[in-house]
Structure formats: C-alpha cells, structure tokens
C-alpha cells in the first residue's frame, strides 16, 4: 500500500508498505531516519520511542499502516538541524550519554515527561522512564539530566 504521513513536519509518501511492517522499520529502512533505534522488537526497552500525534509510542509496536495520515516526530525532529533541544543539551552536560544507543528514545521520553510534569521529582522520573532501558549509565546521570533540563526550561529544581 501507499502510505502518507508527516515525519518531523515533512509530508512523506512511502510505496509498497507491507501489512506486517512496523513504524520503526518504516522510519529506519524506508525513510532512512536511523536515529530511532531497534533494540528489543517487543516494546521492552523504549529505544524506538517516537511521538505519534504527540503521544510517545514504541514504534516497534505500531504498524506502519497505523501511522497513515498522522504526524510522527523522531529524535531527528526534536530540534532544528544544527541546534540542540534543552533536553539534548542537558544529556550532554550531565554526562547522561555513554554508548548512546538508548539516548534517542530517552531524549524523547524526557521531553515528553517535562511537557507533562514540568518539575518532576526523582520518583516521578523513575516511574516515567522505567520503560526505557539503559545498560551503560546506571541511570543516575540521566536523572541529573532530567533535573537539568527542567531547570533550563525555567521549571525550578527540587534536587534529589
């Protein structure tokens, strides 16, 4: 089937999309946006997180067809090219990146969290991000990054 959708603000048409194809595969293999990562194929790790009409989803669990005529935002679309979103900057400043494979999904999950909860507590952070696995950092510096991003957005800082 031919699929129309909007990705990072740009209208896209993709031909010959299979009925069993995931949104993750559509983004990575058809559209060539490899920032969204494939790490578990079953919604356990959050590495493939994207916004679908403003809602954070695991793109490995969404069929490509379900994204028809909808609006997708990936890590590549979070900030204009050549610039960094405050969440991305906070990840760098806090040392929240190591191998970085989980980072695109976490950057979007943190962006989503701060939109919903402008100044989250440690407990709120841990619960909100529990669906994003990271194997390198032990999570502490990512929690630091969330506070830093909240602070940078003028949301105050409770510390922890």
């Amino acid at each position: 089937m031919r699929l129309h959708l909007t990705v990072n603000g740009e209208p896209r048409a993709v031909d010959d999309v299979g009925a069993d194809e995931s949104l993750l595969s559509l983004l990575r293999d058809r559209i060539g946006l490899a920032g969204t990562k494939n790490a578990c194929e079953q919604g356990e790790c959050g590495s493939c997180s994207v916004y679908l009409d403003g809602t954070l989803v695991c793109s490995c669990l969404v069929l490509a067809g379900q994204a028809a005529d909808r609006d997708v935002v990936t890590v590549e679309g979070l900030a204009p090219p050549g610039t960094l979103d405050p969440v991305q900057q906070a990840f760098i400043s806090a040392g929240a990146v190591q191998c970085g494979f989980c980072t695109p999904g976490l950057v979007l999950a943190v962006d989503d969290l701060i939109r919903r909860v402008p100044d989250p507590s440690d407990e709120q952070i841990r619960e909100a991000l529990a669906g994003n696995l990271c194997r390198c950092t032990g999570y502490q510096k990512i929690i630091d990054a969330v506070h830093l991003a909240a602070e940078g957005a003028g949301n105050g800082h409770h510390g922890h």
Partner: protein, 804 residues
Amino acid sequence: MATTVTERAPGTRRGAGGVGESVPRVDAVPKVTGTFEYASDLRAEGMLFGAVLRSPHASARILGVDATAAAALPGVHAVLLAADLPGKRTFGLNFDDQPVLADGLVRYHGEPVAVVAADTPALAHRAAGLIAVDWAPLPAVTDMEAALAADAPRLFDFGNVLRHVHIVHGSPEQATADVWVEGYYETGMQDQAPLGPEAGLAIPAADGGIDLFVATQWLHVDREQIAPCLNLPLEKVRISLAGVGGAFGAREDIHMQIHASLLALRTGRPVKMSFGREESFLGHVHRHPARIWLRHGANRDGMLVAVDARLLFDGGAYSSSSPAVVGNAATFAAGPYEVPNVRIEGTLVFTNNPPCGAMRGFGAPQVCFAHEAQMDKLAAVLGMDPVDLRLRNAMHTGSVLPTGQVLTGSAPVRELIELCAQAPLPEPEPADGRDQLRYPGGTGNVTRGEGLRTGVGYAVGFKNTAFSEGFDDAAAARVTLRLTDGVPVAEIHTAAVEMGQGLTTVLAQIARTELGLHEVTLRTADTSAGNAGSTSASRQSMMAGGAVQLACHQVRDRLAERASDRILGGGETLPGPVELHDGLLFADGEPVAGLADLLTEPVAETAVYHHRPTAGFDEHGQGDVHVTFTFAAERAVVEVDTELGMVRVLHVTAAIDAGKVLNPVGFEGQIEGGTAQGLGFALMEELQAENGTVRNPSFTDYLIPTFLDMPPVDTRAVEEPDPGVPYGLKGIGEAPSIVSTAAIVAALRDATGRELNRAPVTPDDLIGLRGPRPTSGPPPVPDVPGQWPVPYYHNRSSTQQGLM
C-alpha cells in the same frame, strides 16, 4: 626564519579540557541528535541482508542439509553451508575450535549452520527457515560437574577440561587455625545485554578483498580470525569500527564478521547483518556460571591463616577467552587479603551450554561473591565486625599475592573500605505512608510496610588491568599536529575501540594536556592504524592512552628540534625540559616559539606503548602473572519485604582505587553503570539454559535493571597514583561490577538472616521457599598435563590473542 614569541599563537591555557577535568564526550552531540551511526544503522548502495540458520539443539549430528527451497526463493542470492567455505573452517580467540558453520556436528543451541543473503532481512530470515536439516540429536552434557565424569559425552577428543589452574602458596596442607569456615557458592549465567545488537556491513572490494564495518572490541584480532576463513591475506581484510552500542565483553568474539564477509565475496555485493534481540542472546558469549567451594582458616584475632579454594567454571561449547577467565578467577579467589597459606584449584570445563567468555570483571565477580560471603561468615564466627575483619586482612603495597607476586603498585584497600564504612547511611524511612515507589515491589503495590527489614553489606574485590600471563598486548597510536585555518589541531588515529566507556574523550584530553592545545580530532578506528589491542580488561586508558601520551611527547620533541634548528641554527638542543602550552613551546620555563610558527608542515608521530612484562604460572601457580591491579569496595543498603521476597536497594557507596581520575563525569558514569550491572547479577539477571536450550532470550524474560531498580550511587575515588603508569591511572571499567553483586547479596543476608549462596537471588530464596543450594563437595582435581590450557598440550593451534 626568525620566530617571534611576543604574539601568542592560537591555543589554550594548559590543561583546558585536559586530563582531570570533567569533559563532555566527543561523540555526545551526534548521540543525542540521533545522527551517530551505529553498526545496525549502516547502509550501502545495492546491499543485501544476511541471516543465519542456527541449531535448535544443544548437541546433534547433522545427517544432511537441503537448501534447495531456500536457494530457489526469488530474491535470495546466496546460501552457504560448511562445504562452501573457501578457507579455514574454524576461528576462536585463544584456540580456533569454533566452526564458522557447523560441519556435521553442533555443540550448542544457537550454533550457526547456514547463512543466507537476500534482498530484504525478512526474506533472508524466511529463506533460512526453509533450509531443511536432518538432525540426529546426541546426548548433551549440560552440568559442569557431570562434564568431569569419565563417562560423560566428550565435547572434544581430548576431553571436557579446557584448563585447570593449580596455585599453592605457603603450606596450606599444614596450616592450623583457631577457626575454619566452609562455604559453597554458585553464580548463574549473566549476559552482557548491550542495547546495540551485533551488526556490521561487509563490502567486497575491487582487489578481491573485503572492507568490513563492524561493532567490535578489537579490530586486529578480528582480522586475524577473519582473513584465513575467507582465504585472504591479512591486508585484504580492512576493518573499520562502526558505532558500538555497548559491549561489556560480548563483542570480543567474532559474531557476524565472517558470515557477512563470506556472503559479500560470494555475491559481489555489500551484505549487512544485524541481529535481533533473540539472536543477540544466542549469538554472543556470556558470563561463566560458577560453582565455588571455599574453606577459610583464621586465628581468634581475625588474621587469615589459610584459604582453600576450588573453582569450577562452565565454559559452554567452545573455548573463547575461557582459559584466561579461569586463570583470572583463580588468582583472585582468596580476595584482596593477605593470606599466608593458599591452595587454589580452578577448573574450566566444556559443556553443551552456550559458550561463555568475556564479560565485565572476567572471572572476578564470581569469586568475589564467594570470598566476600566467606569473610562475613568468618566475622560472624569470630564475633567481629565484618568491616574490621576486612581492614585487618586488607592487602597493601608490598603484600604478596597467592601467586607469589608482590604488590608493587598502589593498593589503598584499607582506605576504600573505610570510605564505605564512614559514608553516611541513608535516612531511615517510616514503614507506613510512603510513596508506593519507595516500597520493595514498587508499583507492584505488594506491601504497605508489612514485613520490611533493612540490611547492610560490604564487599571488597580486585582485578588486573591489561592482559596477563606473559602476553605483550601493546597499543599503537599516531598523533599528527597541523595547522588548520591557522590553529594547531591534533589528530589522533588509533585502532582502539570506543564502545561507550569514554575512551576517545580521554584520548583527546591526553592530547590537550600533552600538547597544550584545545583542538583535537579523532579519526575513525581502523586496521590502517597499528594494533591497539583489545578494549577490554580495563586496559585502554592505560594502553591506548599511554600510546597517545608517548606519541605526543615525540611530537613535542620534533617541534623542539624545529625550534632549535630555527633559533639556534641546529646542532644544539634547547636548554632544560621542553613543554607545550598556551600555544607556545617552552624550554626551561621560557617561551621559545609559537606552535603556529613551528608548524610550517605537519608533525606526525607514531608510538607504541608496552606495559611491563608479565610471566606465566609455574608448576605451583607462582609467577608475576598480572601487570597491575585495581581495587574496589562497595557498601549496599537494602530493604527486603520478608513476606514476599521483594527487594529495594536503597543506596550504594562505591569506593574505587582510581589512581588518577582522568574525566570525573565519565568516571562516575562507569562506576554507576558497572554497579547497575552488578545489581542485575545479584537480583535478576540469568540466562537460563535448560538442558542446553536457552529459555529466555528476550528483554521480556531476561531482565536488566530499570530506573526503578537502581538506587543512588555515591561514588568516591581514592587517587593514589600507580607508579610506572601514565598519570598514575588505573583501569576502572570493571571494578564496580566485581563488588556490587557481592555487596548487595551480603546486605540481603543481613536483612533476612538467610544463607543465600547463589546469585542471582530470587524471591523464593529470600522467603525460604528455596534453601541454600546443596553440594556433595568439590569434584576431584582433574588430571591435566600442566597449567596451560589443555588443547595447548594437544598441539591445537593457538591464535594471537594470548591470555587476558
């Protein structure tokens, strides 16, 4: 040419962004924006996709293979079986015992049998599924003690013992002690579970060779294994590092490199392979399951008199790096304590379980789990504080290891223990009325404060940095200094692998410090650079870092010669020590020349760093087998719901013997992350092989710690420089993973009063539904020809890697 020094050349003040500062990662921006290219992101024009058919059996004969249907599928371009291999048919890190494709026999669940190249990944996997294999299952030996039996099925003709290490120090048979404690311990099969899957892209080249882009840990040892299997000379296999999504040991062994290269050569097209999560679990080595029997003797004053250690490690079906793992485990089995009389018997067996090899800690976490449990048992018997007992016996500089090796480097073991003991404990929380997340079980909503007990546990451990037992794992680096738009820029080119741990940032810091400039670029690691050795054994900051430091010194010396030629007319050397900083060259503290003025043409220097030599074990297990050591201590505070067996780790204090912290934020990240992996090993992580069949190869069934599982980690560094090592640094990557499992389980014992002799600990263990694992005592010491791996005595060819 006259050189003016009145105008400062572009550059930065000494040390800006250099060694000792918290510096943002050099790859941070592409990683947060999604543009960093991991191996699984690679693409090439006209590429095909490879897939592997793997054995569903742990032990079986292959009576026949029919690939007709797979090959006939439109869009399938190649199907390769063992008979199609153009060169050598086996590979391996220490011994080349692992078939590229099974040739009539499989020894583990997941062993590759055939590879397919097709137009899409889905088609390749469908074609692999159409290959018909006529299997004749064989008896499998999947218990490591059963593998030692005389009538056990044999994995190889020389038997099931891969290596036995025998260490005797002092007079363990004659030792007398006031008290003796015995213990039996087990650890399960942990998986590295890096988030980035095994992946790479092989591109056939016009010269008949291969350009391979792959996520790996040691480019040059990959090449040594790949080239003979492709029947190509080394120089026709060119390997470049693709983005690595974590490794932790899992990428030390060959995974897709040979298969993709074979398919690319056969089809004449680029071939990409990228494992899914299940295939990743089946397609890389794991941490060795272990059984450990310990007997500790001490006097009433708490001084250790003797340790008898019997270790049995399950290597699975192939040798991988197992010989070195058991060598390591044996040398650390008595812990970081002075013990005058020691006997250690360390055995590693083949079974039909999944192959085991390198994982962060490399044999040390298993023995640390055991020797630290023994120290707590001993403290209880003696009525001593467990911290005091450890302080009393702690190694220090000058101590003698069970191998007879004298600790010549820094060994601040007491300081580490004291840091943990003195750190404030977390504030007690009331049992009632907490946020549900602050109860064991969390959002599972399983307790509101009933049956809670807290516990505190300590663990101390140590491990070698770099490879051991006589291997010279040297590292090369090339540093080029040139002007770019009038600014001196240093370019670093090594084959050393960045896998997330922060090496490239550290190398840039070293160049900034040594050359007194800010602008550093890093070329992609590839085999056109000299061999840098493995990114493993906590070695690359010391080895590749040492090589970059040496190369920078050579660059500095060349610049000094230029300055001398231009100012003094040559033939003379500049007075006093030469230094570079602030964009200037200084001699004896005086500015002599601007860097920009000296760089009329670039300066390029290559250097090779060697660590001090080591030796193999003698017949009694004596010898200076290790280069240097990193020590670590952790204190864990836990809370257990004693009715349901749920655990919440409240806090961890990590004290690390860092020598010199090169990048504080990166250092903390390593310690926090390594502690998390140890927490996983303590509480949840176990790859379950039932009769050799892996039962949980997914992130649904193999659990790793989440945000909800990890407590705050208070990381402290003891910076006592290690003599003879660049900046006095120590390798710190593995240290936290060695101790955190033992510390957390010690805290669980403190909370529950239960023996808990197996990691990972399950809820059933914590509430007593399952008792301690029983044992009928250690198996007899196997009869082996000597200390080296058994295949060595059977003239099995060993590869270049040596022993880690």
